[in-house]
Symmetry: C2
DNA sequence: CTGTTAGCGCGTTCAC
DNA sequence: GTGAACGCGCTAACAG
């Protein structure tokens, strides 16, 4: 018997289903003997009460908010998650926060499909993942409101995203203002396997800054690869081996910046004396290691995203857009003035 | 009408419930006209189909694994979470990971109660929280298997925990071996508000090391307070203001160690030249900032905990205990030899 | 104290 | 193509 029900339990215990239900909820008093009979029947059959049946019967609606993103292990995710939790705790509704980690890009769509087919979530927070038109329609038709925390959204109302192009510009500008002229970009390869254009946007910002300062573009200063510290490390080694290595690196994320810094140190050079490094995100780590970066208020974006979604879920006809604070340049110790004169 | 059902939709559309169900699942072909009638009825009534009823009807069992802990924002949580996710992804079952953050200790029990009463989770991972006998019985009676990731568990099978007393010993021993004689302990006040004795156990290890090395105990070297960087910062300021300040500090967590280091630097002293600092946990951050610490394999503990729980959930009569690897001393740059001779 | 029965909201057979 | 009836597993209200 694969899935015994209370009827099975009742039968083997020689009692009615009501009694079984009673011992399960120890509501009214049940005589010790029958209690024991029921309990042993439960044990023998390996009975486990069905959650859904129970919820249907009691009328208790359990609402799940799914947070789906790749790299659940990445620091930037943690920051966002923190914000989501905060927003959820703030208003005391009983929504559950369910985590979905997209381990392989191919499975993303499949996971989304399962969610709507099996009705697992009532609302969805989608971060660092693109939402295609088909997927948008799928969710909309299924009546699952969603908020994206990435920048593949155009001007949609349900999107919380920083101006990544501007952020890229700000980062590059900072280095250029410090006198750097050989400025490299280390970022994710695009098109990204998950379909979001973050790296490309920051890269465009970088390009426009170069242009504005009249710096010629050198393709060998642009190093693209998979996301992560290790790749950034390798790319930096490559940069340092160039005949004319860069004097400054703009890494598209703090984690990648860390990879750069480690590679630089291993090459016997110092940050920022020999090479300046600026990151992007301002995750918790960056404060501790003194990384200059562009703060994109990750925690707050999680907070606002959750707030918006809750708003859509609880007051669908009065949804108000949420605005992320502007990006901020945070200057710490990893960037420094550079002048050819002193070399 | 607060919660319209398919019956309501059917009535206002002038069709049967079967038809409504069909357009909802676009299974069999429905004539365009009736389709439109149903769709508009759905729109008018603001109908949303019930998740639970659907799941009950289709027989799709959705299993939730809850992870409950305080401080969801803390790095040590993230490490564990990563391990949990990994274990979940490893075996391809459709369990959902649901996060529960205990924001206030008073609410913990209430949350647990809600979980069993409302049948929200099928299994529970409890970290950094104590499980009282009552709570154990509550969960057991409700048939909710759980695994604890803290050390308030004795020798229970369903517990993944490092030997914190030993860990405290190892940390203190390291400092003593380096020649330190004025060794401070910075940790959480105990009894902890969440009921887990971690700080006390590490403190006991610290004590036994002192004793073994014949170092007299100085109560002013033991600084206890709330968990967190800021408190550790304050406690360290206090330590430094002592007539005979310590030459080494054992912080019960890496985050607290960071607080210590920051306070030491702000006092114009250097780590490790003037004062050595050792932490506990070995979170990701520690590697980057070069903190000497005791590695407690947090990620792996999350992994093993999840694995054990899945085991309990899927093969209840063949549960095998999981063993955490032993604690490891990880020596990095924040501790140094100390000898009064050179002062 | 305990057995019986009517729903909970939806999917899915059947006949029509 | 469409409507009516039954069942999913459980709770709760009602009789006994």
């Amino acid at each position: 018997m694969p899935n015994p029900t209370i009827y099975d339990v009742a039968r083997t215990a020689g009692v009615g289903v009501g009694t079984v239900s009673r011992v399960l909820n120890n509501s009214t008093r049940v005589s010790p003997e029958t209690q024991e009979k029921v309990l042993s029947a439960i044990r023998v059959l390996g009975f486990r009460r069905s959650k859904v049946a129970r919820q249907l019967s009691t009328g208790i609606q359990h609402r799940n908010i799914g947070a789906i993103m790749p790299f659940i292990t990445h620091p930037s995710f943690v920051e966002r998650l923190r914000g989501m939790q905060l927003a959820l705790n703030h208003q005391d509704n009983d929504f559950n926060l369910v985590l979905y980690n997209v381990s392989e890009p191919e499975r993303y769509h499949e996971q989304l499909l399962a969610m709507v087919e099996q009705a697992t979530v009532d609302g969805l927070l989608i971060a660092t993942l693109n939402v295609s038109d088909d997927q948008r329609d799928l969710l909309t038709q299924a009546g699952i409101p969603f908020v994206t925390l990435s920048d593949a959204c155009g001007e949609a109302l349900n999107c919380i995203s920083p101006d990544n192009r501007h952020g890229g510009y700000v980062a590059a500008q900072h280095l250029l203002e410090l006198g750097h002229r050989r400025v490299a970009y280390v970022g994710d390869a695009f098109p990204n396997i998950y379909g979001f254009p973050t790296s490309e946007l920051r890269y465009e910002g970088y390009l426009s800054a170069l242009k504005e300062y009249g710096i010629p573009y050198h393709s060998e200063y642009v190093c693209l690869g998979a996301h992560g510290e290790d790749t950034a490390h390798r790319l930096t080694e490559h940069l340092l081996a160039l005949p004319e290595p860069p004097t400054a690196i703009f890494a598209m994320s703090d984690i990648q910046a860390v990879g750069c810094i480690l590679a630089i140190r291993e090459a016997g050079l110092r940050v920022p004396e020999d090479i300046s490094v600026i990151g992007f995100d301002d995750v918790q780590l960056s404060r501790y290691i003194g990384l200059t970066t562009v703060r994109q208020h990750l925690e707050q974006s999680g907070y606002l995203g959750m707030q918006l979604l809750l708003n859509m879920l609880t007051a669908p006809d009065n949804v108000v857009a949420r605005q992320l604070p502007p990006l901020e340049l945070v200057v710490r110790g990893s960037t420094q003035h550079w002048s050819a004169l002193f070399r």
